[in-house]
Symmetry: C2
Subunit: 687 residues, 2 copies
C-alpha cells in the first residue's frame, strides 16, 4: 500500500465530511423559520452578519494579494522555482478557510430563528436544529481542510506548499478571530452598559439600538471567528507533523497526519450521529457525551490502524493517547476554575460584596493560578510523547512524536467545532425569542439550551488551547528543521544544539517574542474600549434625540451601531496584523535564524500563558455574576451583583477577544517564520 492510497482515503473522507455538512445545511434551511416578526428580527441579524463578512473578506483579499505577491517574488528570486505554486497554495488556503467560515455563518444565521421557532414545540427539536447547524460548521471545517491538504500533497508531494496553504488559512483566522472578537465585545459591552446599567431595560430588548449588533457579534465572533481559528490549528498541526516527517525522509510519516485527520472525521461522524436529547433531557450532558464518544472512537480507530500498518511505529499510539487524555484532563481542570460548583467562582462572588475592586483582583488571581494545571499537562504531554517515541536516542523521532500527538488531539475537531458552534446559535435563538416577543416558556427552553452551550464551551476551550500549544511546539521544531534544510545545500547546518538559551542573541529574541502576546492582547482590548466608548455615545444619543425609542413606539437605528462595530473592528486589525506578520520577518531578517528561534519560543510561552489566564479569568467572572444572579450573596440588584457585573464586563474582552486570539497569533507567527525560513536562513543582518 503506497502513500497515494492513504492520500486518496483522506481525500474521500474529506469529501464525505463536506457532503454531510452540506446535507445538514439544506436540512436546517428546510425547517420552519417562524412568524413574520421572528423572520424580520432574524433578517436584521443576517444582514448585519453578511455585511461584516463581506468587509472582512475584502480586507482578506488585500492581505492575500500582498502576501501572495511577496511569496511569489521571494520564491522566484531564490531560484527554487516555487514562486507561483507557493502563492497559489497560499490563496487556496485562505479561500478554503473562507468557504468553511461562510458556510458556518450562513447556516448559523438561519438556524437561530429556526431553533427559537422549534423551541415553541419542544426542547428536543430546538436542540436538534441548533446542534445540526453547529455540525455544518464542524464538518465543513475538517472536510474542506482535509480536502485542501490532500489535494495539494497528491498533486505536488511538496509539504512546503501545504505550509503555504496553512499560512493562507491562518491569515484569515487572524482577521476573523481578532476582528470578530473586537466586534462582538464592542457591541456586547456597549449594549449592556447603556441598556442594562444606565436605562435598566433587559438583555436583548429590541428598544436597545445596539441589540442587533450584539447578536451579529455572536455570529461573527463566536461562529465565523472560532471556525477559522480551529481550521487554522487543525491545518497547522498537520503541516507541522508533515514537515517533521519530511525532514526524516519518510514518505509514510509525512502522510500519517492526513490519515489521522481522516480517522478523526469518521470518529466525529459517529459522535455527532449519537448526540440526542429527549424533551426532559440535559443538552449539556449530550454534548459532552458526544465529545467523549468521538474521542473513544478515534482512539480505537487510530490504535487499530497503526497496529495494522507496518510502516508506522507502534509507539506513536502512546504519544497520541497521552496527548488526547491530557487534553481532556485539561478541559476538566478548566471547569474547576470557571464553574460555579467550585470555590474560585463562589469565593469571587462572595468577595464581590466588598466592592468591584476585590472582584477583579480575586478573579485575576484565580485566572493566573488556573494556568498551573494546564501548563503541567502540556509539559507532561510534550515530555511523554517525546520520550515514549525514543526522543532520548533519536531526537527527530521524539520531536515527530510531539507533533503527531498534537495532530491526534486536533483530529476530533469535527465534533469539537460542532459542539462549540452550537453555543452562539442558541444564544442567538434566545435573543430572537426575546426580541420577537415569544412566550415565556420558549425563552425558558432557550435558556436551558444556552446554558448547555456555556458548559460545553469551557471544556472545549481548555482542550483547544492545549492542542494549540502542542501544535506550535511542533511548528517550532519544524521551523528549525526548515532552516537546517535550507542551509544544507550550502554546506552549513543549523543544529538544535546551536540554539543555546544562554546566548544573548537568543535571549534577546525570547524577550522580544515574549512581549508580543501581551502587546497583541492589549491592542485588541484597547480597541474594544475605544470602540465601545464610541458606541455608548451613539446609543445615548439615540435615546436622547428620539424619546420614542424607549417608549417602544419608534424602532431605533440599528444600522448605525452595526456600522460602528464593523468599521471599528476592521480598522483596529491593522496593528495586530502587523505584529503577527511583519514582526517575525523583521526579527528574522535582522537577528537571523537564532534570534528568530528565540523570538518564536518567547512568543509561544507568553502566548499560552496569557491565553489560559485571560480565557479562564473571563469565564470565572461570567459565572460569578450568574452565581450571584441565582440568588447568592444578595442576588440581583445587590452590591455584590453590581460588582460582579463589572467583573463580567472586564472578563468579556478577556475571554472573547484577547485570550482566544492568542492561539491564532502564535500559530501565524510560527507559520510566517517557517514559510520564510529558507530565505531568512541565507539572508540576515546579524551573523
Amino acid at each position: 500500500m503506497s502513500t497515494t492510497v492513504w492520500l486518496i482515503f483522506s481525500l474521500v473522507c474529506g469529501v464525505i465530511s463536506l457532503g454531510i455538512g452540506l446535507y445538514l445545511y439544506f436540512w436546517v434551511k428546510k425547517q420552519d423559520a417562524g412568524t413574520d416578526r421572528a423572520k424580520e428580527v432574524a433578517g436584521w441579524i443576517q444582514n448585519g452578519a453578511r455585511t461584516y463578512l463581506k468587509k472582512l473578506y475584502a480586507a482578506l483579499i488585500i492581505i492575500s494579494v500582498i502576501m501572495s505577491a511577496i511569496l511569489a517574488v521571494v520564491y522566484t528570486i531564490d531560484g527554487s522555482g516555487r514562486g507561483l505554486t507557493t502563492a497559489l497554495s497560499y490563496i487556496f488556503g485562505a479561500v478554503c478557510s473562507a468557504i468553511a467560515g461562510y458556510l458556518g455563518m450562513e447556516v448559523a444565521v438561519r438556524a437561530n430563528v429556526r431553533s427559537a421557532t422549534a423551541a415553541a414545540k419542544n426542547l428536543s427539536d430546538a436542540f436538534n436544529v441548533a446542534f445540526r447547524a453547529g455540525a455544518v460548521m464542524g464538518f465543513a471545517v475538517v472536510g474542506v481542510a482535509t480536502i485542501g491538504m490532500s489535494v495539494i500533497y497528491l498533486a505536488t508531494s511538496d509539504p512546503q506548499l501545504v505550509l503555504a496553504f496553512s499560512l493562507g488559512a491562518s491569515s484569515l483566522a487572524l482577521l476573523a478571530k481578532a476582528g470578530g472578537g473586537i466586534y462582538t465585545k464592542t457591541a456586547d459591552i456597549a449594549a449592556d452598559l447603556v441598556g442594562k446599567v444606565e436605562v435598566g431595560i433587559p438583555e436583548d430588548d429590541p428598544r436597545n439600538p445596539a441589540v442587533v449588533a450584539d447578536n451579529v457579534g455572536d455570529n461573527v465572533g463566536d461562529v465565523a471567528g472560532m471556525g477559522a481559528d480551529i481550521f487554522d490549528s487543525y491545518v497547522a498541526s498537520a503541516v507541522a507533523a508533515m514537515l517533521l516527517g519530511a525532514s526524516m525522509n519518510d514518505p509514510f510519516y509525512t502522510v500519517l497526519p492526513l490519515l489521522l485527520c481522516a480517522l478523526g472525521i469518521i470518529a466525529s461522524i459517529i459522535g455527532v450521529y449519537l448526540v440526542k436529547v429527549k424533551d426532559d433531557g440535559k443538552p449539556g450532558k449530550a454534548l459532552n457525551m458526544g465529545t467523549f464518544i468521538t474521542t473513544g472512537a478515534f482512539a480505537v480507530l487510530m490504535t487499530i490502524t497503526i497496529l495494522v500498518l507496518p510502516q508506522i511505529d507502534n509507539r506513536f499510539i502512546w504519544a497520541i493517547l497521552v496527548g488526547t487524555s491530557v487534553g481532556v484532563i485539561i478541559g476538566q481542570t478548566t471547569e474547576f476554575f470557571t464553574s460555579d460548583e467550585y470555590k474560585p467562582v463562589q469565593l469571587t462572588a462572595e468577595y464581590s460584596g466588598s466592592g468591584a475592586a476585590i472582584t477583579i483582583i480575586s478573579g485575576m488571581s484565580y485566572g493566573l493560578i488556573s494556568i498551573v494545571p494546564s501548563i503541567i499537562g502540556i509539559v507532561i504531554a510534550m515530555l511523554v510523547s517525546f520520550y515514549v517515541c525514543g526522543g532520548n536516542a533519536d531526537f527527530p523521532m521524539g520531536i515527530y512524536g510531539v507533533g503527531i500527538s498534537a495532530v491526534g488531539m486536533l483530529a476530533i475537531s469535527g465534533m469539537i467545532v460542532s459542539a462549540d458552534a452550537y453555543g452562539p446559535i442558541v444564544d442567538n435563538a434566545r435573543g430572537i425569542a426575546e426580541m420577537a416577543g415569544m412566550d415565556e416558556e420558549v425563552i425558558d427552553r432557550a435558556d436551558v439550551l444556552d446554558s448547555a452551550g456555556n458548559t460545553a464551551k469551557a471544556i472545549t476551550k481548555g482542550f483547544s488551547i492545549a492542542a494549540a500549544a502542542l501544535t506550535v511546539l511542533a511548528l517550532f521544531a519544524a521551523f528549525v528543521s526548515e532552516i537546517n534544510m535550507a542551509l544544507a545545500p550550502h554546506g552549513r547546518a543549523f543544529t538544535m544544539e546551536e540554539v543555546s538559551l544562554v546566548n544573548p542573541l537568543i535571549l534577546a529574541g525570547i524577550f522580544l517574542g515574549a512581549m508580543c502576546p501581551p502587546l497583541f492582547s492589549a491592542l485588541t482590548m484597547n480597541s474594544v474600549t475605544k470602540n465601545a466608548f464610541e458606541m455608548i455615545e451613539e446609543i445615548r444619543k439615540q435615546f436622547r434625540e428620539e424619546p420614542g425609542i424607549l417608549e417602544g413606539t419608534v424602532t431605533p437605528d440599528y444600522n448605525r451601531c452595526i456600522d460602528l462595530a464593523a468599521h471599528g473592528a476592521l480598522t483596529s486589525l491593522v496593528l495586530p496584523a502587523l505584529i503577527a506578520i511583519a514582526f517575525p520577518l523583521i526579527v528574522g531578517f535582522v537577528m537571523g535564524p537564532k534570534g528568530l528561534t528565540g523570538f518564536l519560543g518567547g512568543a509561544i510561552i507568553t502566548g499560552v500563558i496569557f491565553a489560559l489566564f485571560m480565557s479562564n479569568s473571563g469565564g470565572l467572572w461570567d459565572n460569578a455574576k450568574k452565581y450571584v444572579e441565582a440568588g447568592n450573596f444578595g442576588g440581583k440588584g445587590s452590591e455584590a451583583h453590581k460588582a460582579a457585573v463589572i467583573g463580567d464586563t472586564v472578563g468579556d474582552p478577556f475571554k472573547d477577544t484577547a485570550g482566544p486570539s492568542l492561539n491564532t497569533l502564535i500559530t501565524v507567527m510560527s507559520l510566517v517564520a517557517s514559510t520564510f525560513a529558507p530565505v531568512i536562513a541565507l539572508y540576515h543582518l546579524i551573523p
Copy 2:
C-alpha cells in the same frame, strides 16, 4: 596594586557609608518630635511597625536555620569542606540585610512625626528631615552590603561564599518584600473601602480602626521591604559578576564589582549631599536632580578608574555607560505611561465616565503596552554590552560585560534608595499631621512633599526593574558556569551550546519556570483580598458595636487591625516562599541542569514582563484617579471618580504587592539554583 588593595578600598567605602548613615540617624533623632498628640500618634505607628518586624525576623530565623542546616549538610557531604563556611555566610547575609532594614525602619518611624512637625515651620526643613532619614536607609543598605561582601572575600577569596551571603540576603528580601506588600495593601484597601467608600470619612481619619495599620504598612512595605529588595539586587548583581569573573580565572575581574560598588558609594555621597530644597522649591525636581548628579558622578569616577587601572579592559566602560543610560531612559518611558501629563492616564480617566469595567480594561491594556519600551531597552543593554565587550569572539567576556553593566546600574543604589525611602516617610508625615489635627497649611506642605515622592518613585521603579532584569540575566549565565565548573573535575562539561531551546526537556523547564511569576503574584494578591476581606469585617464590626467611634468620642481598637494585617501577611508567605526556594530545587533534582536552566530562563522572562505590567498598570490607575480628583471629567464624587477609585484599588496590590515582589522572586530562584548547582550537576533524576 593587588586585589587586596581594591578590597580594602571598598571595605573602607562601605564603612564610611554606614558611618554617614548612622550620623544621619542620630541627626534625625535629635529633631523636634512635636506635640504630645503627634508623639502619641507616631508612637502607635512605631509600636505597630516594631511588632511586625519582630514577627518577620522570627520567621526569618526559622527559614535561616532550615536553609543553613541544609547548606551545611549538602556542602559537607559533597566533600568540598565548605559546609560550615557556606552556612555561616548565608546567615551573615540574612543578618546584614536585617540590620540595614531595621535601621531604615527605625529612622523612618521617627522621621515621619519629625518631618510633620518641621512642616509647621517650613517646607525646606520638613524635606530635609524626610530626605536625610531616607538617606539613612540608602547608606545603610549599600554600606552594610559592601562591608559584608568585602569581608567575606578578603577572608576567604571564595566567590561561592559571597553567593551564599547573597542568598541569605535574598531570603530576607523575599519575606520582607512580599510580606510587607501584603501587609500594606491589606490595610490600605480595607481602610479605604470601609472608611472612605462606606462611611465617608477622609483618608487618615483617626476614627478609622485600620488607620494605624495603614500607616504601619507604609513603613513595613515601602521602607523595610523596599530596602531589603534593593539590598538583594545590589548584592546579587555583584556576586553574579564576581562568579563570572572567577570562571574566567581573573582575580581582578572577580573583584571589579566590589570596586564599582565603592565608586557608587562615593557618587551617592556627592549626590545626596547636593540635594537641597528652598522653601518655595520643588522637592520632586530636587530628588531627580540628585539621581542625575549621582549617575553623572559615577560615570566620571568609573571611567577614570577603569582608564587608570591597567588590569581592566577599557571596553567595560561602554558596557556600564550603555546599561546606566538605558536604565535612566526606561525610567523616563515609565513616566509616559504613569504620569497624568500624557495620554494613557488621561484617556483612562476619560473612559472612567463609562464605568469601572472600562477603567480596568484600559489600564490593563496600557500596562501591557508599557512593557514594550522597557523590554526593548533591556534587550539593547544586553546586546550592546555583550557585543561591545567582544562577546562574538570571546563568549565569557561578553557575558561578563552584561554582568558588569548590571553592577554599574546598581552601583548608585545609595542615592536611589534614599530618594525612594523618602516617599513613605512623607506619606506617613501627612497621615500623622491629619491624625494629630495639625493646621491645614501643614497638611498642604505635607501634600507637596508627598506628591514629589510619587514622581521620584515612578522613575526609580523603572530603573530598578531594568537593573534586576540585567542582574538575573548575569546570574543565569553564572548558574551555567557553576554547573560547568562542578562537572569539570569529573571530566564532563556543560557548555552553553548544550542548552538548546528546541530540546523538549528545556522547553518543559521554560514552561514550568514561566508559570511561577504569574502564580506567585496571584498567590500574594489572593492573600491581599482574603486578608482585606477579614479586616473589612473587623472594621464594620467595630463601627457597629461601638457607635462612639464614628462620633469621635471613643478611640477604636487599632491593635486588632494591626494584628490581623501582621498575622495575615506572615501566614500568607508560606506558599510563595516554597515556590521561590523549593520549586527550583525540585525541578533541578528531577529534571537536571538542563531542565533547571530552562526553568530559570522561563521565570526570568515572565518575571520581568509581569513586574513591568503590574507596576505600571497600578501606577497608571493611581494617577488616573488623582487626575479625576483634580477636577477633570466631573471631579470628586462623579461617576468617573467612583470608577477611577475602583481602578486605583485594583492597582494597589498590582503595584505594591505582586509587581515589585517579582524582582525578588526571580533573584531568589536564580541564587538558589546557583548555590545548589554543584550538587544538582552531579545528582539528578532525568539524565
